[in-house]
Symmetry: D2
Subunit: 360 residues, 4 copies
């Protein structure tokens, strides 16, 4: 068994990792940290883990595990800290020879200036940016295998990028895109605030991040790289509007992306069928990305690592619309983190991740 | 007191009209119809109306009123039937000398061909299209006063149009707009279906009407007319993408509209402040439309007739974004219907509509 | 106009009072306080109040009112502070000759020892307990008219007491009662915590207050007094189990009360019809309490001051079951507070409170 | 692999079985039926099953499987039909030598008269009642192993019975119990109705089944049998009030049971600690039933087969209160059905059921 630690296990991504790893055939959780709960047993914080004490097939999460302040020596660490704090912890872990999947934003952007512009502080470990690999599994499998530091992508960013990569790679779209994000409230984390207070969120929809959301630079970076990788590099930085909206629901992100399609030499723009073929081929071997012919629903992904994508042409304006959705805590966070860890260790990419979404 | 009837009172718009009229100083409900409940007392269907029996200040809804199949003679009728059935009922009511506020789509579109293209049936009363006035109060007060048939606007359409009228009237925007609609489930009406089944809707977000939503032609018609009225007629039909999404909530619509701003002669595009001034002036005397400087929330409008609008410039792309929101059953339906009825009878426009939204 | 102040206006009961008073014919809000928002205008905190600026029929809440630390001189104050802090503020207000409706628990219990046992601190103003009147309007109208200090009842307590008073007053029930409370989350207030965090509350039901909920002594006190007032004083303290459960909803309380009915001399226990008659007579002249023959729903009360009660006999066990429901922020808090204020000033008891609940 | 069929796969229990069986090591779904969808592929109805096409570890649900009207020959059938229709289908399946786990109520009650009194029709296959075993795994493992027909318990009944069995078996409680049920809406099934219409259910709590809920006779039967099995047979039929309430949530049941504890010879009633020991021993070897020391939440069980129970003594009245909760579609239906199937085939009881609940 591979020993793993979860740093900041009391975050929602930490809890979700516990849930996933409790079913994983190869990873054993041997260390968990959380500043606010040092000295407590896991099942004092999460009584539902009592269940894992019983003689199940696998026993990879021990509910009696005691929470510590610093992670003990393990083979791999999942870091669930906020940005800045994450980078500091990651540097120490790597120095101890521990591989890291970092769920924060600290190592996602290749350009340190962009990072500092958006995150408003000096990067704590800029030297590591070169070794870090952006953990979008569908794009960087080969690189992830070779690295010791995976920067797990943002939830909104993953949903948007997966929806737009095929047309950017194929050079079919003008780089002028509107990304309208509808995101469940668990993406805001487990720290209470007025913006996550039940009576405020329930029966309420609103936009946030109007002056700019931090997942935008990730999206820009990856669409540019995707276009280049597909042989259709962009002439200039893409013009992207990215606006997230809070939904009165716990889990799920649905992104609606709008862009103008390019005409080919004969003045023809791609049809629905062209798009279907393009997307299906692009994701042909992907276990977790599914191109569908109906309007997908966040509920199809509830608790699963799957992403559903439906591209189509708006029949009056001939604009491209792509609807993509996933579970923000799974393919948008902890699920993708486990997928990355599977790749890091040469395990089947779907190990521990085969569950379907809950319906209803 | 002005006598009013509610045709199809068991619809959600019918129930909402009861709630509003129970507080109205001038309208008395003297006739209610509903095919499925003929012969029953109102309070057998809606026990919460027991409350109106008591000696309150006003007594305009009698819970003991018996539901009939056809409306009795009144001064005014609110018609809450589905399209096609509505037009037939409206024709009969007008023939009896009863004024009508029709909440269906039957008289919203001036062009009968557009109607028939979108609603897929022959218009039952095309001759009435000329007398009908589109009941967007902020635009057509003068005309509403003179008519006997008001076509109450669609809920999604009202939200989108109010958000975009000022820039269309001022000629500040390219007529190429993306309207992303987030709509509460009560807009789908009171007839059960799998799409409105609780276990399917809860914790779920999805887009619908991908091949075209029927509120689009209303929006096109009104933005064209608004542009012309403002002295900036469009050269061609506007290119509008209109995509609604179902939200896991009962009430509320939030529309996010995206469009490119035009440059003026000096190459300058409007600023946030320019937009604020423009919108504030456009709606200066409106009791129910409020331009705000923060991101508005549907919850501000819960149960009220108010609409909140926040226009701003996306600071990276210089695109115009307008967020507008309202309660789909109020300013999006029954509230606006009462506002129209107030105008029809020369009453204060806010009569019976002064309530604030519930928070939380 | 009667001048009123709202102390701690940023609480949910404070906001609800603003909503109600904005429609009130006689009360004008001239002072508002909130420690965390001193110096801000009301509409900076609650943008939905923009709406009240407009030329509506009445103008009793000015959105430009500036929040202060201490209330200015008014005729009446609604105190929305937590217990202990409330008592201190109340004492000062009364000393300034200002009448008070206190929404905290500080003056609800007549016995200071009971208060101190349940609230775990010394009562800050025990001398005022004698002048305070428990503000359950249906019971204490006469006393409320004479006092300057009304102790507004707890939300869960109001729902339970209204459901049980008629049988206690009639001496029909054994004083051994189980009160199972289902309460919306807004009752927990506006201060964020893990227990009110959206992602924790949504899709979740749990019991709380297992070692004893503070509304229990109110219920005991009022059922004892109600029994005595009805001429059927209890021999001993009633044996009451009171267990609240959090519901995944914002507003509404539904209480299910279970008790054994007494047999009369002939060994007969009351029938459904007996109960219907008893309850209907007990609440015959009440504008806000309605005895119904169906299972009532919290949704009938959403945003209204009404309470619905359905008593019936469990047909197998012959046990009494009473279902009672109301909106915790209205009849359970701010609505009842306004009702009390109406009584204090000899206004019609329904002034400003005539609204029906929202449906849906 | 053991071949299984799902009869009426388009029900919520049918869908949940698909989700579970897609991860099961030994059962392969080779036949699915649904009257309304004959001839369609599974993934036309449930696009989320696309995911199971991919090369996952196991492949036990083929999304291309075509829905038929009658089940094909398999080793085992899960019957998800409504009562009456279920019994007819079960009789035919058994005649073909197919083992059956029936999720309907048709074979739960041993007494045909009780069945016919509650279900208001003649039992279609009374002869089978003798072979049927009530599928509460914790009670009837040995019998389930020997039978070919398992009657899967009702969701509310399972929650209540598991919560009360230990005290009935130990003879510690007076057989006079109040069972207050809080149940998620998915328990009402997938057929749309006004009672399951989103806008009606959301933000609403109400009691239903006031004249008697059909899970009551199951509860009575099993508590009587449990008492007898524990050596403390009841003198008379227990007096049980059973009242379910609909919660505004999709999944989850929480049952609060209230009963008086018996005194022992020395007049002592059991303490919290006595109860903890009793319950912990009673469920000592159970993989899915967990006795906890805090107030349990339905969310701990979301999507899992686990049941959490917290018994305690109300410290003022000395009454027993037991809170028990589970996921109505899992341990309350499909999960328990798979657990029963595992027992039928001598597989590890937890096969395919090891998942933890989703949190949040």
């Amino acid at each position: 068994m591979i020993r793993v630690s979860i740093v900041n296990v009391t975050s929602y991504t930490g809890i979700e990792l516990l849930r996933l790893l409790a079913q994983h055939p190869q990873f054993q959780v041997t260390s968990v940290t959380a500043r606010s709960a040092v000295g407590k047993r896991l099942d004092e914080i999460f009584p539902q883990l009592h269940a894992t004490l019983r003689p199940f097939e696998t026993q990879t999460v021990d509910p009696a595990l005691v929470i510590t302040e610093e992670p003990e020596q393990t083979d791999l660490a999942f870091v669930c800290l906020p940005h800045a704090a994450a980078a500091e912890a990651v540097a120490k872990l790597l120095a101890r020879g521990i591989k890291v999947v970092d769920l924060s934003a600290d190592f996602r952007l290749h350009d340190v200036h962009t990072y500092e512009e958006w995150y408003k502080h000096t990067h704590p470990a800029p030297a590591l940016l070169e070794t870090a690999v952006y953990g979008l599994c569908e794009r960087y499998r080969a690189e992830i295998k070779q690295t010791s530091l995976v920067a797990n992508p943002g939830c909104n960013a993953t949903t948007a990028i997966l929806g737009l990569l095929p047309v950017f790679a194929a050079g079919l779209v003008k780089p002028d895109v509107i990304i309208d994000v509808k995101a469940g409230n668990s993406g805001a984390g487990r720290s209470p605030s007025l913006g996550t207070h039940y009576a405020e969120v329930n029966e309420n929809v609103s936009a946030y991040g109007l002056s700019g959301h931090r997942h935008l630079p990730e999206v820009v970076q990856e669409l540019e790289l995707g276009a280049r990788a597909g042989g259709h590099p962009l002439d200039a930085a893409p013009r992207i509007t990215f606006l997230p909206h809070f939904m009165p629901m716990t889990r799920g992100i649905l992104v609606t992306s709008y862009a103008d399609l390019k005409q080919d030499a004969s003045g023809r723009i791609p049809s629905d069928e062209d798009l279907r073929v393009l997307y299906t081929e692009y994701y042909a071997n992907e276990p977790f990305v599914h191109v569908v012919e109906q309007s997908p629903q966040t509920k199809w992904t509830y608790g699963s690592n799957h992403c559903f994508i439906h591209p189509f042409v708006d029949n009056r304006t001939k604009r491209l619309i792509v609807i993509s959705c996933l579970d923000n805590l799974m393919k948008g966070a902890a699920g993708q983190a486990v997928q990355n860890a599977n790749i890091l260790y040469g395990l089947p990419e779907t190990a521990g991740l085969a569950a379907l979404g809950l319906h209803p």
